[in-house]
Symmetry: C2
Subunit: 204 residues, 2 copies
């Protein structure tokens, strides 16, 4: 608990510094000072400098994963996402984290070090997603088809989110952010040949 809070504090400080002055120009000492902890504590919580960004980047997936986790059998993906979207209510802190995560994704286009953090957190999300997909399909979590569907879903969500976020932050043309959920859901259906998306018929 306290562990996680410290981790987050470090990650917030690190991502802000990365965004303001670049990754190379940011030292471990600066991150530690900005987070209000010692350098030693930074390296206790993170393998490398760039991996300090992971918790904040992972924040991008948190709503997505939470939504999928709570997806009931008898709703379509469209219905469930719409309902969750309505219920959504972000604290200022969460909004700030979201914004920082978006900045990291933009940075990842030019900074290989951040790209690795982004890809790692996507990989972690995939592992969390697999059992959810497995349960929905009534199959084993280590089934090869389940893994393939999971990877495909995760990949299209990643790439579409990335495009929308980068588009919104770099160009000021109004990106089609409004229907981003619809785009993602359609892509998920396409990427699974519609095996994922519809409500599940009760087999009782």
């Amino acid at each position: 608990m306290q562990q996680d809070k410290t981790r987050l504090a470090i990650s917030r400080a690190a991502t802000q510094l990365f965004w303001e002055q670049g990754v190379a120009a940011t030292t471990g000492d600066q991150i530690a000072a900005a987070a209000g902890v010692s350098v030693r504590t930074v390296w206790r919580h993170f393998r490398t400098k760039e991996s300090c960004a992971e918790p904040i980047v992972a924040h991008s997936w948190s709503w997505f994963l939470a939504t999928w986790r709570s997806w009931p059998d008898d709703l379509s993906l469209e219905e469930h996402v719409a309902a969750e979207e309505k219920r959504r209510n972000l604290s200022p802190q969460q909004q700030a984290d979201d914004r920082a995560a978006a900045q990291m994704i933009v940075l990842s286009r030019t900074e290989p070090a951040i790209r690795t953090a982004f890809l790692m957190s996507s990989d972690l999300a995939e592992r969390e997603l697999a059992p959810i997909v497995a349960r929905r399909l009534r199959r084993a979590p280590d089934d090869l088809d389940v893994l393939a569907h999971t990877a495909a879903i995760n990949a299209v969500v990643r790439v579409i989110s990335e495009e929308i976020i980068v588009g919104a932050l770099t160009r000021d043309e109004r990106s089609p952010l409004a229907d981003s959920n619809a785009r993602i859901i359609n892509a998920v259906r396409t990427a699974t040949s519609n095996l994922i998306g519809d409500p599940i018929r009760r087999t009782s």
Copy 2:
């Protein structure tokens, strides 16, 4: 040219050391010595120690990418892959590289540093794949749907290859390596709702 040969030599040396004694226990000095170059040259070619593995890991994708690049419009994916598979003829050097790549993929299950290299090379492959998919679909390479299809294809190829390779190297149960191409092609079709796989009708 000379650049690439040096890069490869370093990568071969590094991957072998990583496999034999682990990543943490392998120093830059050892890699340099094993590759027959100076330490300075190692860091000239690679950002980080773990990224030394990237060229060899990227080798995993080379046959896959070459096959897709040469895929003619009037063949199905099944037909083309079967033809390419028949034509395939690996030099001993290429076989050794393939083997080393497989070892790195196994290592990436337990070594986060290698996992990042693996994911980075997968990300690079995705960038190379996008224009190929775009051309096949007669759409722009930066089209959002094209990017989504590309990501889905790349993801299923990655995860299925990974499972097969890891299964073959860790368990000695005979993995279904024989029909791995068929599995991958089926997964690609599923992950694109059959938009990719069939021959393209001439529109003339």
